[in-house]
């Protein structure tokens, strides 16, 4: 058949190697590290190095007894781990609520409910997190799970919005094409809408994660644990090394988690987009 000449005329080299090579031209790869490039791992490496260097510096400087107690490596590690737990658990809960809700609200029959749900989510976001956490502590008592509830109330909106926007921006002609060739509504959702919305939904997850890392510091006000404890200790005892260690570690953790989110966005997004 006469296909190859026509292909050439249209500007696509039929002898081009694999499809993937064509998707990412080498010049682009230089500037935007992909999951397969070693450059992608420079950022987390730098973060870990800075963290280690900071800890070495702090441990080896002159510390009084309060500082020494608050900056013991075991203790700092425990707080870091609590912080990660808070972040991950609240993010998982946020996603478990926001993504199904976002899908539901993007169905034609549920559109009228959208403003109400968004208003509620807006309240959670706009109320100061610190006020919410204290109020909830009064209601539910102090501890880890109360903090998670407060974080979830705070973090639902970005994830929900991104899910809805992601689904709304799917080209309606593609949905029409899916229906037209005989896909059931569930198939259109699973095979067309969700895959095409994935990049935006993933971006929402990334935002949520970073938001959670920062906000999880307030857990220390209601004995929820986490790196916030270092900050409150540092402030109340006027020990700057303790305060700074808390701040530096939270910032580095946020960078690390943002990097992880970025990698997930790159690797999980469907090919061909």
């Amino acid at each position: 058949m006469s296909a190859p000449p026509r292909g050439t005329a249209a500007g696509i080299d039929p002898a081009a190697p694999g499809a993937e090579d064509a998707v990412i031209p080498p010049t682009v790869a230089l500037h935007a590290p992909t999951g397969r490039s070693w450059r992608a791992f420079l950022e987390p490496l730098a973060v870990l190095l800075i963290g280690a260097a900071w800890m070495l510096y702090v441990e080896n400087s002159d510390l009084d007894s309060i500082e020494e107690r608050s900056l013991k490596p075991d203790y700092v590690w425990q707080k870091t781990w609590e912080h990660i737990e808070l972040t991950v658990v609240s993010t998982v809960v946020v996603l478990a609520i926001a993504i199904p809700l976002g899908i539901l609200l993007s169905r034609v029959w549920a559109r009228p409910a959208t403003p109400f749900v968004l208003a509620v989510a807006n309240i959670g976001q706009s109320a100061p997190a610190i006020g919410v956490v204290v109020l909830l502590a009064v209601i539910f008592g102090i501890g880890f799970w109360t903090t998670v509830v407060a974080l979830v109330a705070y973090g639902v909106l970005p994830a929900l919005r991104n899910t809805m926007v992601g689904l709304q921006q799917v080209d309606p002609t593609l949905i029409d094409a899916g229906r037209g060739i005989g896909m059931s509504p569930a198939m259109v959702l699973a095979r067309v809408e969700l895959p095409l919305a994935t990049p935006v939904i993933l971006a929402g997850i990334r935002t949520t994660l970073v938001l959670m890392v920062g906000t999880a510091s307030i857990a220390s006000f209601i004995s929820g644990g986490g790196l916030g404890d270092l900050i409150t200790t540092g402030v109340s005892t006027q020990r700057n090394p303790v305060l700074l260690t808390g701040c530096v570690l939270i910032a580095l953790l946020a960078l690390l988690i943002d990097w992880l989110g970025g990698m997930a966005t790159r690797l999980l997004a469907p090919k061909g987009l």
């Binding site: 296909a3 026509r6 292909g7 249209a10 694999g18 002609t173 037209g180 005989g182 090919k271 987009l273």
Partner: protein, 416 residues
Amino acid sequence: MSDADPAPASGATSAASAAVTGDAAGADAARGNRGGIQLINVTKRYPGQSVPAVDDVTMTVPSGEIVVLLGPSGSGKTTMMRLINRLIEPTSGKIIVAGQDALGLNPVELRRHIGYVIQNAGLFPHMTVATNIGLVPQMLKWDKDRIAARVDELLELVDLDPATFRGRYPRELSGGQQQRVGVARALAADPPAMLMDEPFGAVDPITREHLQDSLLRLQEELGKTIVFVTHDIDEALKLGDRIAILDKGSRIAQYATPQEILLHPADDYVEQFIGGGQAMRLLKFSRVADVPLQQVPEARPEDDAAAVRDRIAAGSTAFAIVLDERRRPVRWIHPEDLDGVTGPIGTRGMPTATPIRARNTLQQALESLIQIDHETVPVVGPRGVYRGTVTLATLQNAIRDMKERTRARRRGADAT
């Protein structure tokens, strides 16, 4: 079959569509109505709108034909097409696809058996070409090997090399290639009928011509029942076996063959819609082979000059044509060229212009006639064999004849 068609309501429509449903039924019977589509008194009314989008339409799409729904935007042509695969549910009426009552079937199941092609192809960007094409067979639970074989077969059919294209993503294809894949996807499960909604509307004119030619070639091979929506009159005339010209509310202003529409617009609306230049369009859609050619005296290089002179004198033209041993036209010869010549005429005379092929359109013939200084151009059939000659006057007569014949036929139809 024809007695199942209730007479349409409006006056102008009834004459045209009654005639059409009559011979459409005949064509259907001959083909056993494999994939014909019928709309019977179909109405679509959107809530809150006083005027129905589709108002009591009755129409038969004969099996194996391309029927073009042609109309300006807002004429409801897309709505009408989407009623057939129930992307839009009709308010009332009956729709029959391939002998089955479409409204009695599960709409999802129904759509898997009607091909669907839209503007810009509507390929899913996150799936490879092969996955896109294989979607419907996959939904119909074909096994993997059968789907893979079918995908390759279809890519060949639409002139794309399977090895090159099956693994590509849509954005790595040009617009024309995407549309070819779109057509392949619609054909995947070999449906009897296909709906095409302005499929070639967003590609450049040259690619569009290519795609139209490919579709016609495919159709010769496959004989699907195709409902094709467009607002481009030239596309409609080129592709349609029949054209339905739609007015507001999907009123069918005329439903007839392209020639009939060009020669005899049913009413002012149709006339206005197809616009001026009908004669030019006729030239574009009629072939030289359909026109009575002018015959001129023939001669061979070895013929005697005196004999040729006599032949020219006896003929109606002032010259003769010299043919070679395989009857291909070579030269014109005038009596002046032969003044004082005795014996064979040899290579005297004037070389002819590049001949016109019998399967060229009249427009192409006209173009050659305008470009050359000679008034007459030879016409050749397969292998360049001489068939006759054509002049501007020949074309003029041909168009006049076409008009006469249709007028006569219309008078006959009205009388009965």
